[in-house]
């Protein structure tokens, strides 16, 4: 009798069940939002495709910042590596779009391996400074290697072949947008699985207390490096998507500015949830689009004001705010 009473309460897993349901709802919402964007803004699909590419960058950054606790202001290196790799491959005759995405992903992962190996040597502030140094170096390298990258003029003349041999990358950017949306949804689902895996839990633990993780008998650096490579893979997909959709790769895709913007997006949306990365990108890009039309000179000021407001009013980011509204009982009603 006592045995029954004792084993009953824990055997089932209601907590994870609820989480799965929420994630299904979340993924459906992202897909629905994407499809709605397709029909609501048919003239702005190029902008929306760029939004998706940057959302992939922000997601990739969230893996490193939100799940591993590594501060970086150089994440555009991974994005730029994907963009340039896809661009250079395309100019050299490899025009199949999915192959280009794969090339971008692998290049991003490679860049993640290099950048992670260097950055994980340092901690805290030194690590942050290192990330800035790395992005500046890569930026300068891309600038100097103009024979391959087009230097400051950018790498132009990408003529991407039709998707599956059927769907041309048209002037309206429909194909690019839908390809991007599918990539985003697939990547998002994949990342949700990764952060919910034992490895994802381990990284969360490392973020909170690496000494505790070592005392559990797990190595810290190899696992962080692994996450860096995964992060590079995702950012590389974003970079390749940007290259394919705009048919140009500019130096800005491997810049400090893009890195900092990605971090701003992530903080706006909320770190460590994956949703925050997407929400933050939408807010940032939407804000940029609307405010820069009103006042093209001072829109960054407005972004600054918005950022301050969010950090003070909702330190968990906007998605954290949603979270609290979604489950009002969540805070007090747990017990």
């Amino acid at each position: 009798m006592q045995l029954v009473a004792r084993t009953n309460p824990v055997k089932t897993l209601p907590a994870t069940g609820g989480q799965v349901l929420r994630d299904v709802v979340g993924v459906v919402a992202i897909a629905a939002l994407g499809v709605a964007g397709y029909f609501l803004f048919p003239d702005n699909l190029a902008l929306l495709t760029r939004l998706i590419a940057l959302a992939l960058l922000a997601l990739s950054l969230d893996l490193v910042v939100g799940y591993c606790g590594i501060a970086t202001l150089g994440h555009a290196v991974l994005f730029g590596a994907g963009a340039y790799a896809a661009g250079i491959a395309c100019v050299n005759g490899m025009t199949e779009p999915l192959t280009l995405i794969a090339i971008g992903a692998i290049a991003g992962a490679g860049a993640g391996l290099v950048m992670g190996t260097i950055m994980l040597r340092a901690h805290g502030l030194a690590q942050l400074v290192l990330s800035i140094a790395i992005v500046q170096l890569f930026h300068e390298a891309a600038n100097k290697a103009s024979a391959y990258t087009g230097g400051s003029d950018g790498l132009a003349g990408l003529s991407v072949g039709p998707l599956f041999g059927v769907f041309e990358f048209d002037l309206w950017g429909r194909t690019a947008y839908l390809l991007g949306l599918v990539l985003l949804v697939v990547v998002f689902i994949g990342l949700k699985f990764i952060v919910a895996s034992p490895f994802g839990m381990l990284c969360r633990g490392i973020k909170e207390d690496p000494i505790r993780i070592r005392a559990m008998g797990a190595f810290v650096a190899p696992n962080l490096l692994k996450m860096f490579v995964i992060s590079g893979f995702v950012a590389g997909i974003g970079g390749a998507l940007a290259a394919i959709s705009t048919q140009v790769v500019g130096l800005d895709s491997i810049s400090f500015e893009l890195s900092a913007n990605a971090l701003v997006m992530l903080v706006l949306g909320g770190i460590g949830t994956l949703y925050g990365a997407i929400v933050g990108t939408i807010i940032f890009m939407g804000f940029e689009h609307i405010v820069s039309a009103i006042n093209p000179f001072h829109w960054m000021t407005m972004v600054g004001v918005l950022l301050i407001a969010v950090v003070i009013a909702a330190p968990q980011g906007v998605s954290g705010l949603f979270d609290r509204l979604w489950s009002p009982a969540g805070r007090g009603g747990r017990s």
Binding site: P9, T16, S197, R204, D209, A215, S335
Partner: protein
């Protein structure tokens, strides 16, 4: 049979300050050893030397007859030398269930897997449940650690250590910071530790030491000044001078 855990002539100095001098300890399977000493005696340094956070200047550490002196802390844990922390080191956003599950998965070499679910293995879940049950943590298994009582957090530290199936367990002040009302639960948990496990406990609470330990080592100024049965400790004049005097003072302040 030789000891499962043997420390020989361990020494460490920081600059001119010797914090550990020629420390030798042998523990057999099932040992219950308490390491006591006044503040600054070098107890925590000893734990850090033994677990690999610090490198000794000289001396050797043998675990099950194997020399682990040159190994890093992670490898020592994997060989069965496990510690708990004096100040709880837990992940405040995770539940006890998640802590122990992660530890069990890590012990089985599955904690770095990407293509697997965290809560999907019934064998792991069963082991986690019985561990939490043994330490009386089942009812808070699904609460965030930041929300449970400090005494329960201390018990979770022990649960995590046990989940690694250690051969030697170092408990760094398991009752530190725990309110009086909760110490009996810690004591109970210590009594129920696997009988074959060799346990070394560092503790300030003398009641706990006398009840738990079958063997006591007293450290003062980095040196072992006494080794013997708990009943003999109080009678030893060296110990009285070095330890109990200052301990009595410390107690007045607390």
């Amino acid at each position: 049979m030789n000891g499962v855990f043997q420390v020989d002539n361990l020494s460490k100095a920081f600059g001119g300050l010797t914090v550990s001098r020629d420390i030798s300890i042998t523990m057999k399977e099932g040992a219950r050893l308490a390491l006591i000493g006044p503040n600054g005696a070098g107890k925590t340094t000893f734990v850090n030397l033994v677990t690999g956070q610090l490198r000794p200047d000289s001396g050797t550490i043998l675990l099950g007859g194997e020399n682990v002196t040159r190994l890093g802390s992670v490898r020592r844990v994997r060989k069965g030398l496990v510690r708990t922390f004096q100040v709880t080191r837990l992940f405040s956003d995770m539940t006890p269930e998640e802590h122990v599950t992660l530890t069990v998965l890590q012990r089985e070499g599955r904690a770095s897997r990407i293509l697997s679910r965290f809560f999907n293995d019934s064998a792991v879940a069963g082991e986690v449940e019985s561990l939490l049950d043994a330490l009386g943590l089942l009812e808070v298994a699904r609460r965030k650690v930041g929300e449970i009582a400090y005494g329960q957090q201390r018990l979770l530290e022990i649960a995590i250590a046990l989940a690694l199936k250690p051969r030697v367990l170092l408990l760094d002040e398991p009752a530190a910071g725990v309110p009086q009302s909760e110490t009996p639960r810690i004591e109970q948990a210590l009594e129920r530790l696997p009988p074959s496990l060799a346990v070394l406990m560092i503790e300030h609470d003398m009641d706990l030491v006398f009840r738990f330990a079958r063997h006591v080592v007293v450290l003062a100024a980095g040196e072992i000044i006494f080794e013997g049965l708990p009943a003999e400790v109080a009678a030893n004049s060296k110990v009285r001078e070095a330890y109990l005097g200052s301990y009595a003072n410390a107690r007045q302040h607390a």
